[in-house]
Symmetry: C2
Subunit: 190 residues, 2 copies
DNA sequence: ATCATTTCTTAAACTACATTAAGTTTTTTG
DNA sequence: CAAAAAACTTAATGTAGTTTAAGAAATGAT
């Protein structure tokens, strides 16, 4: 089992070796090939996923049949369709590997057990969810306050290396416009 | 002190009377007049607010000078600019009462203290933040998957009573279009 | 009740971005 | 390394939603 998750947890709380050993059997570690799916529309989301290395994305298919990416998760981020995961309902989302990715998964039937055995982790996940909430508030403001071109230039200036990592059509839908329009923007200037 | 918050907490965890008495001095309860502000741009967000009765909204002013509402909070919802609240940074948001509103506030200097004295509340806030995260995932999908008109009709069918409660210009910006366009949509059909 | 303020409506002109479709380049795979 | 598939570009045409501006209606204050 990779130590990346334990290191991440220890950035927020102190988890002893004994506690790590309690946690370990509740986790699964595995690799996902590029373009493989961890979740497809109509299925029930089985786990909450932590990215050790690589990149996952959450997307859905809109009425016109186009993929709309709503979230990316790179190293040290958690990703799931939370409603489907918590209530074991059918999902309207896909979770796909944008790159070959190593993940740690905590499955639904272990999720409550984890908090029962290690109440300390309530705090870790509260802090993670706070970060998620901050990211959501930032994202909504970002989407509402700028034009498509500004959003692209701003995102590109904040995360230039990430922009190179994913196909432009994924990025375009994440930023809220079409791949053709992104092409146009990029052609305008250097 | 209103019991609404304790009732809400007890929907998620068991909080004894003793524990309620530990919590009480960390909270402030007060009324906010319609249109009054709990936070203005440039200020630091002092508290996380729980709505007992009424309605608060979170908004910012975009480049064109227009108000963009990003969140509403009605009865039993928490609202804050989380980044400004947690790190005591200047905010780019306003929090305003859309109606005369009764709130309970937990101020920043009591927030960590609260978790220290009542670690049980880690779980309560983890669960609240999970609900927020679900709401964010739903909201992003909603914004990306429908036209402006569909968003209005869908929202109106889900929350007809809420649509009557707030001015249309607040709703329009929340749904991602102009008040003029909302007027146009409403004129089309009953 | 009356005046002031806020909110809502209407309509014409405008624009940012979508759509369509065809061609080009890059990446993947056997 | 060749063929297929995936990703990207270009350009013409189309449209959902914005802007502007003025008037009408509703709400609030005294």
């Amino acid at each position: 089992m990779s130590t990346a998750l334990y290191q991440h947890i220890n950035r927020f709380i102190d988890l002893s070796n004994d506690e790590q050993e309690i946690l370990a059997p509740l986790l699964k570690s595995f690799s996902v090939k590029k373009k493989a799916f961890l979740l497809e529309e109509g299925q029930t989301c089985r786990a909450n996923y932590f990215v050790i290395k690589g990149c996952l994305r959450l997307y859905f298919i809109d009425i016109k049949g186009a993929e709309q990416t709503t979230q990316f998760a790179i190293e040290n981020w958690w990703i799931t369709d939370l409603t489907s995961f918590l209530f074991q309902e059918h999902s309207e989302f896909y979770i796909q590997a944008a790159e070959a990715t190593e993940v740690i998964a905590i499955e639904h039937h272990h999720y409550d057990e984890m908090f029962h055995k290690l109440p300390k982790l309530e705090r870790y996940f509260r802090l993670i969810l706070q970060k998620n909430h901050q990211a959501s508030q930032r994202r909504i403001k970002f989407l509402y306050s700028q034009t498509a071109e500004e959003r692209y230039r701003h995102f590109n200036s904040l995360f230039p290396e990430f922009v190179q990592r994913v196909p432009q059509y994924m990025l375009a839908s994440y930023l809220g416009f079409t791949p053709e329009f992104l092409s146009k923007i990029r052609a305008k200037k250097i």
